[in-house]
Subunit: 149 residues, 2 copies
Amino acid sequence: MVGFTSYMAAALEEARAAGLRGEVPVGAVVVGPAGVVARAGNRVRELCDPTAHAEVLAIREACRMLGSERLGGHDLYVTLEPCPMCAQAISLARVGRLYYGASDPKSGGVEGGARVFSHPQCHHIPEVYDGISAEEAARMLREFFANRR
Amino acid sequence: MVGFTSYMAAALEEARAAGLRGEVPVGAVVVGPAGVVARAGNRVRELCDPTAHAEVLAIREACRMLGSERLGGHDLYVTLEPCPMCAQAISLARVGRLYYGASDPKSGGVEGGARVFSHPQCHHIPEVYDGISAEEAARMLREFFANRR
């Protein structure tokens, strides 16, 4: 069955691959009516680019493929609660639904911190579904940071 | 005299050029100890990229030039109050000082809205100076939107 768990599984694969490259293991997938449009893992270190979070890379790639700066009718799956930069990019891209895995009380910007979607200055608010495969996403992050100590 | 007004003048030039390309006229400049490192105007429509705000493009270019995902010791000049995406990118890049022109009560994320720098989840807070050449920056935006009606 193709559904939200399989899309999150693809995001988790991207996260795992990012971890193997020495990046913080976060992965994201953009899904349209016909299935996966773009997928990406974090590449901040590789690209020397502080904006190269998984969500931003997946959104940029999906927009490039579609020839549009907006992704109406598309959903985004990401293994970790987006930071404020990524949350705003999701809003600017008009993503329909945001599915994310683990919460990020330390750096997140959706359910905590800046809560980007909860201000009148946010002109498009996606539907938000959290906690999808959260345990696996969180375990991957814990192991990554434990191994770096 | 080279100083913050001349750097903001360069950002205003970028904003003007963006407007001539049909983009919302916002410009940004990254300045290091030896002067301007990168400059950019908004290219959202041209690049079909919702993240291609002036600040993000200037930060990415400066990081590429310096071979680092961090811009410690560098300042950013932008003609308009950054949105939450750009504010968080400025934080992630460890920009030292943020100088901006006009306030953006409708979409800004620094002094209003998400107020990205004012939460414990924001791990680096730049020094912020607002209102630099604000009148010219605001006039350019007003004229742009008036002409589109």
